[in-house]
């Protein structure tokens, strides 16, 4: 077996041990690297979107210059060329990052919840897509179908290329890209980001929470189907990735009513098939620990952004692997010494017994999220200090 494949298996096992709540041979380091890779290499987002080979070079450098055991993505995470071909979307990437341009997603009227509940796929396909995308708004039926077919081919190409790049990371670098191509938001997030927008859903949660809850539940089955349509095989090196947007903005009781049941159902369905789930618990989830501690044991790796990880491990350590710990503010504005000090504290307090993975507190999206020398110093320190 080649060196790289051996290294690959070592890293997969290291992460697997941590997620299954055992103590690995050393503290794993996860590469939560997003568009930061582009500025680190020295290319723009536009350039990356036009040249896959260049994109791969950039991400290769960012992901192999540091001793990561696994990484989020092999490339720019969002199929922007696909979005362009549809005539644009909600992501505005004029700034070298991929940010949602708020205020443009109230495409569904509050009166339409019943339609969404009755058949989410039909509603989104037949009502929302034509409302949202330019290519469906002009031309003959034939022209519309042709443009749509073109868009889909770009989308499929993105999927295939992404898989191919992940395979190259495996054979050329021995680095697991844990992204299986299933990057989901939960139903509540999708309604917020794509259908009702921020103001809309905040109002709906107060005024018609039953509808929101029902709509979220109705979306779970299509999501599970989509998940396993994409993941034809189950393997230790590929996880489902979830990015949770809505819960940080609402009260615990509101979360319990509208978001939690569908979230729990989806995660349970995925875990039941033996697949690990990587979840970005964005902002602060302390007020929701009583819920998420019920998620399937040993199946989830939870990245926490603002939470005190020591508190998180105490509350959730029997259920899920806790990940994160170093603020991007420190990675960029702090000294090497400060970063190492933080890492040492995390390892001392959280590594014993396993179930801990080191990472920054959020994805590295822009140049200002990390100084390379800080990242290098702290990850090299962890390889030494975090070994058994």
């Amino acid at each position: 077996m080649s060196d790289k494949l051996k290294l690959y298996d070592e890293r997969v096992k290291r992460l697997k041990d941590a997620i299954e709540l055992r103590e690995p041979d050393r503290v794993p380091i996860y590469g939560l690297v997003d568009n930061w890779a582009l500025s680190y290499y020295g290319i723009t987002l536009e350039e990356a979107l036009k040249d896959v080979e260049l994109e791969y070079k950039a991400y290769s450098k960012a992901l192999t210059d540091f001793p990561f055991d696994g990484a989020l993505a092999s490339r720019v995470t969002f199929p922007l060329n696909f979005v362009y071909s549809l005539g644009g979307g909600i992501f505005n990437n004029a700034t070298e990052t991929i940010q949602i341009a708020t205020g443009h997603s109230e495409i569904m009227a509050v009166e339409e919840y019943d339609e969404l509940i009755a058949d989410p796929m039909k509603f989104i396909r037949d009502k929302i897509l034509p409302r949202k995308h330019k290519i469906f708004q002009e031309g003959t039926v034939e022209e519309k179908f042709a443009k749509y077919a073109n868009s889909l081919s770009i989308f499929f190409q993105f999927g295939q290329t992404t898989k191919m790049l992940a395979e190259r990371f495996k054979t050329e670098h021995g680095l697991p890209i844990t992204n299986a191509g299933v990057n989901h938001f939960m139903p509540g997030d999708m309604i917020m980001d794509y259908l009702r927008d921020f103001k809309g859903i905040m109002r709906d949660i107060k005024k018609c929470p039953d509808k929101v809850a029902e709509a979220c539940m109705a979306m779970v089955d299509p999501m599970v189907k989509d998940t396993f349509g994409k993941m034809r095989t189950v393997s230790d090196d590929k996880y489902v990735h979830l990015y949770l947007h809505l819960p940080q903005f609402i009260r615990a009781k509101e979360f319990e009513k509208v978001y939690w049941p569908s979230f729990k159902k989806y995660v349970e369905a995925v875990a039941a098939r033996g697949v690990k789930i990587l979840i970005l618990f964005e902002k602060n989830w302390e007020h929701l620990y009583e819920y998420i501690q019920e998620l399937p044991k040993g199946s989830v790796i939870g990245f926490f952004e603002e939470d005190d990880l020591r508190k998180a491990k105490k509350a959730l350590g029997k259920t899920m692997c806790i990940a994160g710990g170093l603020k991007t503010n420190d990675l960029y504005y702090g000294t090497k010494e400060k970063c190492i000090e933080v890492a040492k504290g995390l390892i001392d307090d959280l590594a014993p017994g396993g179930g801990f993975v080191f990472a920054p507190d959020k994805v590295l999206a822009t140049k200002n999220d990390a100084k390379a020398e800080n990242l290098k110093a702290v990850t090299e320190f962890i390889v030494e200090y975090g070994s058994k």
């Binding site: 505005n92 004029a94 700034t95 070298e96 990052t97 940010q99 949602i100 341009a101 708020t102 205020g103 921020f198 103001k199 905040m202 109002r203 949660i205 107060k206 940080q248 903005f249 609402i250 009260r251 509101e254 007020h287 991007t328 503010n329 960029y332 504005y333 999206a365 822009t366 140049k367 200002n368 999220d369």
Partner: protein, 211 residues
């Protein structure tokens, strides 16, 4: 009109009760002075909302809802408000800084500031140092508010404060920064006068500056 009940109901985000009370009030043909007191009671309600947020009982979703509630409340009262003589307590130039497209927090802060009597010039998102300087030159505000969520916003905020200095405008305004990444250290590095992650607290700070 039970002013303290109105304040309480705004604090509780009880939209139906608030609209009922305000519509009943407007139907009594009140004087501008009486209306002024009612507006003040609404603003106190927003302070209550801010306190709940500070305590961790309310979340951003509640602030959004409160902002909308307040805007609607002021709309109901407009016909009986003395808008002729209503001076503003101060003016501010507000915007989300360059590279950042997030505006929810900024918008919450804006509606609360307007409800508190500030005239707000909202530049929008992704605003450069040049754009801030130009607007400040144009409208001579009391306060400049810089908003951002991403780590990169801190860099942009620093640039904007430096640009204000270069243009000889820094000493003429108070600068407040708001958003996820702002901290005391960031505030000092950036050279702002105050920082906050709570819109209602931010408005209180601004009120102290003009009051």
């Amino acid at each position: 009109m039970d002013l303290s009940l109105l304040t309480q109901k705004i604090g509780e985000l009880d939209e139906e009760k608030v609209f009922e009370m305000l519509n009943d009030f407007v139907n009594t043909n009140p004087s501008p002075d009486e209306s002024k007191k009612v507006v003040a009671a609404c603003q106190s309600g927003m302070s209550v909302v801010g306190d709940f947020f500070e305590k961790g009982e309310y979340f951003v979703g509640d602030l959004i809802f409160a902002g909308e509630l307040l805007t609607s409340a002021i709309d109901i009262l407009k016909p009986v408000m003395d808008t002729q003589n209503a001076g503003t307590v101060g003016s501010m130039v507000l915007g989300t800084v360059a590279g950042d497209l997030h505006d929810i927090g900024k918008n919450i802060f804006k509606s609360m500031a307007e409800a508190a009597g500030f005239k707000v010039y909202d530049l929008g998102i992704d605003q450069s140092a040049g754009e801030f300087v130009e607007k400040v030159k144009e409208v001579n505000p009391t306060i400049v508010g810089l908003s951002g969520v991403l780590t990169l916003a801190l860099e942009s905020m620093k640039n904007i404060v430096e640009a204000l200095e270069e243009a000889g405008l820094r000493s003429k305004v108070k600068v407040i920064i708001g958003g996820n990444p702002v901290t005391k250290e960031a505030c000092e590095t950036i050279g702002a006068d105050a920082f906050t992650t709570n819109a209602a607290e931010g408005v209180k700070i601004c009120q102290k500056w003009v009051g």
